[in-house]
Symmetry: C2
Subunit: 200 residues, 2 copies
């Protein structure tokens, strides 16, 4: 089973993935971007500010990372539990936040191609409200994307929800305000992993 964890920075994805890892040590834990050797090279390129890469080229670089991630990590582990920190939902949500004139169906089509037609089986989406986001963001150092600001991140989050509504993938929306344990219980129930003794 291929599961995406989606949500903007500070929503709590990593914490929930760590909790799952404790009970499913055989799960394949991965992330986008940068999980493959190509992905690491592309990540370095994306962080070179003086390149000032065009928005369209940036979208294709993230798609290249996604395609490589699918080919090298997802496809070869398809019989295992695969937990990915971000995936195509983030890809589309950021692309739309940078240019909302791009057709959503077209973006989904390109992502489907990157994923060899194998979309994730389930998506856990952790949603955070503005107040909590501001509070958590002020406590951490800001990377390139975070510097674009709170409103930008909220726009990305809104786009993530649009993407979820557009595909037929099963998803759950969790509230970042809830306790780590409460969220973990909901994740386990959604993934129906609490009944299983092993995952591969």
């Amino acid at each position: 089973m291929y599961v995406l964890f989606e949500g903007i920075d500070t929503a709590g994805k990593s914490t929930q993935i760590e909790k799952l890892k404790e009970i499913y040590p055989n799960a394949v834990i991965t992330q986008e971007p940068g999980a493959t050797r190509l992905g690491k090279d592309l990540r370095a390129i994306l962080l070179e500010k003086e390149l000032n890469i065009s928005a369209e080229a940036e979208i294709f670089l993230f798609l290249a990372d996604r395609a490589e991630h699918y080919a090298k990590v997802i496809a070869s582990n398809k019989n295992k539990l695969i937990i990915s920190d971000r995936g195509f939902v983030s890809g589309i949500a950021y692309a739309l936040a940078n240019n909302n004139a791009i057709d959503l169906e077209f973006l989904i089509g390109m992502n489907g191609f990157a994923l060899g037609g194998k979309m994730p089986d389930k998506i856990v989406f952790i949603k955070i409200d503005k107040t909590l986001l501001q509070s958590r963001m002020s406590a951490k150092s800001h990377d390139k994307i975070e510097k674009r600001g709170i409103e930008y991140l909220l726009k990305v989050q809104e786009n993530m929800e649009k993407v979820l509504q557009k595909t037929s993938i099963e998803y759950i929306i969790l509230n970042a305000h809830e306790s780590i344990e409460s969220l973990h219980a909901q994740v386990k129930k959604f993934l129906k992993l609490d009944m299983e003794s092993d995952n591969d």
Copy 2:
């Protein structure tokens, strides 16, 4: 005017572009891939054989190169004569030669997005037959793609023709057997540049 020169290796594109450059010194001469800083980085990545990049990721890397080339070279010179050695026609033709299950319309759509909807105005396609291709190939050193062989290149050439037939862009098909001067005369006539005194 944005003009593409297309054709497989040894067809004679570079020679014809050189001839045009002599009479139009103000023309912007460019090529794909690798004309931008991002393009050079991507070219280096694409040549790293040990990365063994997946076919889909490779397609997206070429699209990223194309998008960046459009943004940094084509868009900013749109009032000049722009002559590009290869472009989206090669991109699609190689993608299909590597995997003929990919939908041609979808590939054209992704390329249109990379080009910001601004497809080339005219395409000069130089076609070469098997005998001449074999003779010319045997005389030069083979790079990565050329090593895939004569049959592969002929398949790419066939795909190039399919792409030309599918878009509404004006094109001319030239015969690589003809003399350099004869081809040059046909190119000038097709581009209607023989009547103009300047090009920008």
